[in-house]
Symmetry: C2
């Protein structure tokens, strides 16, 4: 099934958004102020979610919009993911999900964890980072030039962590959520394998910002 790409109101370089690896059948949702980013680079969303104030005048007609009240129990990003799930999507990328207000960034991290609960895959991507989570399972990651691989325990503890194909391998290791041991590993093989037997790992692939 196609992917659901959600554009949020976080900080975003327009070049990053226009150069994003768009697929022809992506289902694109603009969450609240994400509409502004989309307009800037001429990306036409399939759905708008937000309160009415955020629907800028002059936006191309004919795009369905779900309006919500400003006082609600979910962030706009979370609402967009829930809407995507209700439409059958299982693969989500969140853009404009970082930068500026850290409360929103943390809410988006919790949205990834919500995805795990619902059995769907959610990834945050920005110019420097790809962020996702892995629970009680295994994942392969391709090597990308200039990127670091980091893992952190999202649950208080992760057991049975094995990292293969990396500069600092781990074998059945244990990490708590108050350690920085998993920071700045590097993928050496074509693909690295990350396994966690028990717990939720945050997996982050990052590169340094260009000066």
């Amino acid at each position: 099934m196609a992917r659901c790409v959600i554009i949020g109101a976080g900080e975003m370089n327009p070049d990053f958004l226009s150069d994003f690896s768009w697929r022809e059948n992506d289902y694109i949702i603009c969450a609240d102020g994400g509409l502004y980013h989309a307009q800037q680079v001429g990306v036409r969303p399939d759905l708008l979610i937000g309160d009415q104030d955020s629907f800028v005048e002059g936006f191309p007609q004919g795009i369905p919009a779900l309006t919500c009240r400003p006082e609600k129990d979910d962030s706009d990003m979370m609402l967009a993911v829930k809407e995507g799930i209700s439409r059958g999507y299982k693969d989500f990328v969140l853009l404009g999900a970082t930068g500026g207000r850290f409360d929103h960034t943390l809410a988006n991290l919790q949205t990834i964890a919500y995805g795990l609960e619902q059995g769907v895959f959610v990834m945050i991507a920005d110019e420097n980072n790809m962020i996702t989570m892995l629970r009680d399972g295994s994942v392969f990651m391709p090597r990308m030039e200039g990127y670091y691989l980091s893992i952190f325990s999202y649950t208080p503890c992760c057991e049975g962590i094995t990292l293969e194909g990396v500069k600092y391998p781990l074998q059945k290791a244990r990490l708590t959520n108050w350690t920085t041991l998993g920071l700045s590993n590097e993928i050496l093989a074509e693909t690295a394998q990350i396994t966690v037997e028990k717990g939720t790992l945050v997996v982050v692939v990052s590169k340094d910002r260009q000066k």
Copy 2:
């Protein structure tokens, strides 16, 4: 006892650093590339921590330096906090701890949680955010114009959350770490009180970035 302020290599507006609410007896550690930020605004650290490459030439002489190997089990920020704890400090502020590489930001979040384990207080501050954690306890927060108050469960679940003096109060509520209900509250009273009976809450005070 005096406060320990650690300057890291993250993104930082020089004005934010020079206008920071410095106290005369702050013990200032520059962690790795944080030295560059300090130099830019003429802040003189009491201690440098990093690998030797990061100690820029021409830096004022006579500042003690702890050098470490690039392959180590802790982030530079974590090393700096551990060093501060070993010197008896119990109150830490991390500057230059956000932005750019999200793996570093997450490592710094885990450093706050490490502080809880050690019984010390750690706060991350940047131009738009103040981030800390609260475990099995209560805290008062003053109202600040233009700032939102958000809470998130850092542990899988937080029980007995009570928020008083805010726009959306909570009474003995429960939050999991995959919900965004705690986003964007507002402090209405002079001071809000945040209580969590069981679990660790991330407490974030944020304002929108000025356009």
